[in-house]
């Protein structure tokens, strides 16, 4: 796992993809920080975090698209799958690399906190709560992105499909769900709504069940990815 993790981290920066991801992330979050926090004159960072959700939908597919699709295309998966390691180590190595980059990006909010501190006071509870929510949301989305990447050899296809999948999760909000007439279906869909769960945090509610939801999504999709790799061997 360590070897794959280190290789992927290196590859993010030699290919430039890591820089692109960080630059775009910083630029947009900076913009949201300016419009939602500084300009509005409210020192609570929650509105900024709420706006950042849509950014993930575009940026996380970029991070995950080539992780497994390119291995398959260049046949480098032959090296990985014939090495004396198990499939979980391969998937987790890649997952943790993408997640690390995501955390590096996310930590920019502490820079914003410093700026806020200079201008006024920081609502630390809200900031830390939102930061945690974003961390786990990212964890879930990255797992979804890697799963999609394992299904194809084409990184653009992987990016577009992960984008669409995440967009669907984004569109699942209260205004849409309210139109579902069947109660049971609505309840299930509400429980699966990433957006509703994430927005809970931005409203100041720290929901442990949502954290668990994101964590289990991450685990489930990593598990699916392992199964896809396993299935490819058996087909």
């Amino acid at each position: 796992m360590g070897a794959i993790y280190r290789r992927e981290m290196g590859s993010f920066f030699t290919s430039g993809l890591g820089y692109v991801f960080l630059t775009v992330f910083y630029a947009f979050s900076g913009y949201f920080f300016y419009t939602e926090v500084i300009e509005s004159g409210i020192s609570d960072t929650s509105p900024m975090f709420a706006r950042m959700f849509i950014m993930f939908i575009f940026l996380i597919p970029v991070l995950t698209m080539r992780l497994l699709s390119e291995e398959k295309k260049n046949r480098t998966d032959q090296g990985l799958l014939t090495a004396p390691i198990n499939l979980w180590e391969i998937v987790m190595g890649k997952y943790m690399a993408a997640f690390t980059l995501f955390v590096i990006a996310e930590c920019i909010v502490f820079v914003y906190a410093l700026v806020l501190r200079y201008l006024g006071s920081v609502v630390w509870a809200s900031l830390i709560g939102n930061f945690t929510a974003m961390l786990f949301l990212g964890a879930a989305f990255i797992a979804i992105g890697i799963f999609v990447s394992s299904l194809t050899e084409n990184q653009m296809a992987a990016a577009v499909v992960s984008f669409v999948v995440m967009l669907i999760f984004y569109l699942f909000d209260e205004t849409l769900l309210i139109r579902v007439s069947n109660d049971t279906v609505r309840e299930v869909l509400t429980a699966l709504s990433f957006r509703t769960r994430y927005y809970e945090f931005t409203k100041g509610v720290f929901s442990l069940s949502s954290i668990l939801f994101f964590l289990s999504t991450a685990f489930l999709f990593n598990f699916f990815t392992v199964r896809v790799l396993e299935k490819r061997r058996w087909s």
Binding site: G10, N74, T76, Q78, G79, L80, A83, R233, W234
Partner: protein
């Protein structure tokens, strides 16, 4: 070291590998030979655990590749058809990555220096793999397989893309490696297999068509105990033939004699088959001398590995152990049609022999008639 039992792989309905079994002993260099699409790469991919088998077992050093994949894979170094190289890495970074991936416990610097020295890539270690020539990429692929000194090396067409000098180098390297490692190597280049391998398995259409050393295969397939002789009788007429045939038949060790066509005026050819144990040439010589006949020619039907390969893979329904092979037409050098002599050589053959002859004539005249 490697044991393969009844290995089968199906892709949907297509049978890619059909019931292959073989064993490779420690320190052996085994060559897989076969035309494109014969199932060589599929077999190798199964041996290394990249794909699973539909049925059958593979034991590497006693460990089943599907049941104990980690332990089994730790024994293998694999160079696939397309080397698994990350093009954006430098050779050094890549080899270090493979070193970690294989969880190698050897001293890193010294081991990587060794491997690079063996594969002659020391001078490109700082370069990005993307910019290397195909030959260098192939050698980096080989270096990667050698990391951690695996007891088993599986090399899928290792000399593809190399120039003649490099091919010779790689061959001698493989031979050298064969002293310490068990090597399985695939190729469709015959001289390569002949030059490097102790043992050859010819794979065709997913099955093992032949297994043995080059000599053994040649012997089994071509029936080296078959020969063609041209003997000049006393009278230069067809009546010589019967005398000669019966005289030859009386020699112990001769299984079958057949008079062939008239090659030179009044002189006939004879196909002789022995039991494969006795060398009857001296005895034949003696009989001829006693009868005053002259031996004009003696030719053992000896095929090169190339002939065998073509014979096996060109769609002939070949079966090494079947009796049918005795009625198979042997390759000939003559350009004259055989059918015109068919009336002469009836003699005292039984029905099946006659049938066999007819078959021979038919296929010969269909194939090579002028």
């Amino acid at each position: 070291m490697i044991e393969v039992k009844n290995l089968t792989k199906k892709y949907g309905d297509k049978l890619a590998v059909n019931d292959i079994s073989f064993k490779v002993e420690k320190g052996e260099i085994l060559g897989f030979l076969g035309p494109n699409g014969a199932g060589k790469s599929t077999t190798m991919n199964m041996l290394t655990g990249y794909i699973s088998s539909t049925s059958g077992h593979i034991l590497i050093n006693g460990k089943d590749i599907l049941e104990q994949p980690k332990e089994a894979k730790a024994n293998i170094g694999y160079l696939p058809e397309i080397p698994p190289l990350y093009l954006d890495m430098t050779v050094d970074a890549y080899l270090n990555f493979m070193f970690d991936l294989k969880k190698c416990k050897l001293p890193r610097r010294a081991h990587l220096d060794d491997v690079c020295g063996l594969c002659k890539i020391t001078d490109v270690r700082k370069r990005v793999i993307k910019n290397l020539s195909k030959g260098y990429k192939q050698r980096v692929g080989l270096a990667q397989a050698l990391i951690n000194n695996p007891p088993v090396l599986i090399l899928d067409e290792p000399t593809v893309g190399l120039d003649p000098n490099q091919i010779i180098e790689i061959r001698s390297l493989i031979k050298k490696l064969g002293k310490k490692h068990t090597v399985i190597l695939s190729s469709h280049i015959l001289p390569e297999i002949q030059a490097v391998c102790d043992r050859i398995i010819i794979i065709n259409k997913g099955t093992v068509a032949a297994d043995g050393t080059a000599d053994e295969i040649a012997k089994n397939i071509t029936n080296e105990h078959k020969m063609t002789m041209r003997i000049e009788g006393g009278t230069h007429t067809a009546s010589d033939k019967e005398k000669i045939v019966s005289a030859l038949r009386s020699i112990s060790g001769v299984k079958y004699v057949r008079a062939d066509m008239e090659r030179e005026k009044g002189i006939y050819d004879y196909d002789i088959e022995t039991d494969g144990k006795t060398d009857v040439r001296r005895e034949i010589n003696k009989v001829c001398r006693d009868n005053g006949w002259n031996i004009m020619m003696l030719q053992l039907s000896d095929l090169t590995l190339e002939d065998i390969f073509l014979k096996i893979t060109m769609g002939e329904n070949f079966d090494m152990n079947s009796e049918k092979k005795e009625s198979k037409p042997r390759p000939r050098i003559n350009l004259v049609s055989e059918s015109d002599s068919g009336a002469n050589d009836d003699g005292d053959k039984n029905e099946s022999e006659k049938k066999a002859d007819k078959k021979t004539d038919k296929s010969d005249s269909a194939g090579g008639d002028k």
